[in-house]
Amino acid sequence: MARVGSTARSEALICLRGVAKGYRRGSEDLHVLTDVNLDVERGEFVALMGPSGSGKSTLLNLIGGLDVPTAGTIRVAGDAITALSRARLTAWRARHVGFVFQMYNLIPVLSAFRNVELPLLLLPLSKADRRERVATALRVVGLADRLDHKPRELSGGQQQRVAIARAIVADPTFLLCDEPTGDLDRHSADEILEMLHHLVAEFGKTVLMVTHDPRAAARAQVTFHLDKGELS
C-alpha cells in the first residue's frame, strides 16, 4: 500500500526519498518541496490534494521526469530517473509515463486518431500495429466512432477521454493526472473518474492524480496531502 514518510529501502513501483525542489526568485529562495518520501505500489490509484501553491504539480512533474529535484532520488520501476540525462529522461517519459492534463492538451490541428497515435510514433511499431493500438485505446475510452474528429469538434469530456486514450495507448508504467476533472462539469468529471478507476481495477494501471476536488480524491484508494511542500 502507498505510504509517505518512510526512509527505508523500498521495492515500490515509485519510490521518492528525500526529494526537495526549490527555485530562486530574485534574491529569495523558494522551497516548494522539502524532504518528500513516498512509495506507490503497482496498480494503485493515489490522489494528491493540497491548496494552490502547495507543490502538487511540482511533485507530479518530478515523478513524471518533466523536472529534476534539487535534492533526493526518485526511482521508478527500479530506474533512478534523477540520474538520467535530459535526453534519456525524454526517452524514459515516452516509455513509462502517460500524462493527463487539466486542459486536455490535445494538439488542436490533429484528429483524435493522430493525437492518440503520437506516443506510438516513439516506439518501434508498424503502421498497422499503431492503427490497431489507437483503435483499442479509443474503444476503451468509448470514442471508437470519433477517430477523425478534431479536438474542437468534441466536448470537454470527450477531449479528456481522448487525452486518456493518448496516455494509455503506449501502455506506460503509470499515469500522471494533473487535475483531470478540473475543467469539466460534474457529469463529465464523474465519467473521467470512473474511467480512471476502471483502468486501475480492470487493467491494473497505476494512477497518480492531483486534484482539488474531494469527490475526485474519494475515488482513489489512497489520498495524500501536500501543504507548504510537505507530504502527509
Binding site: 518533466l66 523536472d67 509515463v97 500524462f99 488542436p108 510514433l121
Partner: protein
Amino acid sequence: MALPLVYSIESLRARWRSSLVAVAGIAGSVAVFVAMLALARGFELALVSSGSPDNALVRRAGATSEMDSVLDVEELRVLQDAPEVARDARGPLVSGEIVVLVALPLRQAGTEANVMVRGVTARALDVHGGVRVAEGRMLTPGTAEVVVGRYARNSYAGLDLGASVRLGGTPFTIVGFLDAGGSAFDSEIWADEAVVGPAYQRPRGYYQSAAARLVARDALGALRERVASDPRMRHQVDRETEYYAKASQAMRGMILSLGALVAAVMGVGAVCGALNTLYSAVAERARELATIRALGFGGGAVVIAIVAESLLLAAAGGVLGALLAWPLDGLTTSTLNFQTFSHVAFAFRVTPDLLALGFGFALAMGAVGGLPPALRAVRVPVAVALRDL
C-alpha cells in the same frame, strides 16, 4: 523520432492568413531574384550567341572592343591567306567589318539611343552563320542599302521596309530584316562597309575587326600563333564566343549586383515575414509544443517540425515566385552595352536552372526564418512551459 509532416501542414493550414502573407513575401523575393538572373542570363546569351565557336575574331592588340580596334586591308589579307581559315568556292570565309554608332529615336520613348551600324563585306552572312535574312533581301554591295536586325526594327522609329534612314548624312534604303536568333546582331543595322565607311569619313582600306571561319574548331591556337609570329600583324585572336562572353561580363555583373541587392533587401523582408509568422505561431502553440515534449518527443523533433513548417511556406513561396517569373521568359528589353555604348535589345531567359536557384533561395529564406523560432520553442524547460500556461 520526428513528428509527422501532417502536423506541420495542418499547423500552417490552421493559420492560413499569416501563412499566406509569408508565402507572398517569399514569392515576391523569388520572383525578383529569378527575374534579375533571367535578365543577366538573357543579356549574356544575347552577346554570347552573337559569336560562333567556329569563328575567330581578330582585333588590334590591346583593343577592348571592336570600337577601338583597327585592321588594314594588308592585315586582312594575311588572315585570308592563313591555312587555318576556312574557304569555299567564293574564297576565304573572312569578313572585315567596321562599326559606327548612330543616334536614332526610340520607337516608344521618342528619345535617341545609339544603334550600332555594322559595315560588312559580301561574306558577312557566310561567316556569321546564325544570321539570316528574315524578310526582304540582303543589301546589294556597293549600294546605299541596309538590312535591319529584328530588335532594332522594333526598338527604333521609322525602320520600315523601303524606308530611308540617314547614316552620316547619306540616305540608305532599308531592303530587308535580319533574324540573328536573339543575338546582339538583332540590335544592329548592317550596311556595305565600302559605302557606310566614307559616309563617316573612315579611310578606305581600313577595318576595325575581322571575323574568320576556322577550318576546324581546334585551329584557333594555330591561327593565334601565326598572327603572333607574323611581323606584319599586331593583333589578338579570340574565339568569337569568348570575345562576346567577355564583352557581356561587365554588364552582366552590374545586372547581377543590382539584382542581388534588390533580392537581398526583399529577402530580408521575406525572412522577417517568415520569422514573424513562426514566432507568433510558436507563442500561440506554447502549450501544444510543451505537451509534445512531455509525451517524449525530443527538442530536435520540435525544431524539425517548426523548420519543416517554415520550409513548406518557403517551398510554396518558391513555386509561386517561379510561376510569377516564368512569363518573363522571352520578353524583350534593352539596355546600353557599356562595352560599345550601343543599345542592345535582348530577351529575359527564365531557364530551369534559374528557377531551381530561385527555389533554393526560397528554401534558404525558409531555413533562416524558421530556425530561430524553433530554437526558442525548445529553449524553455518543459515543466516551465507547462506551468506558464
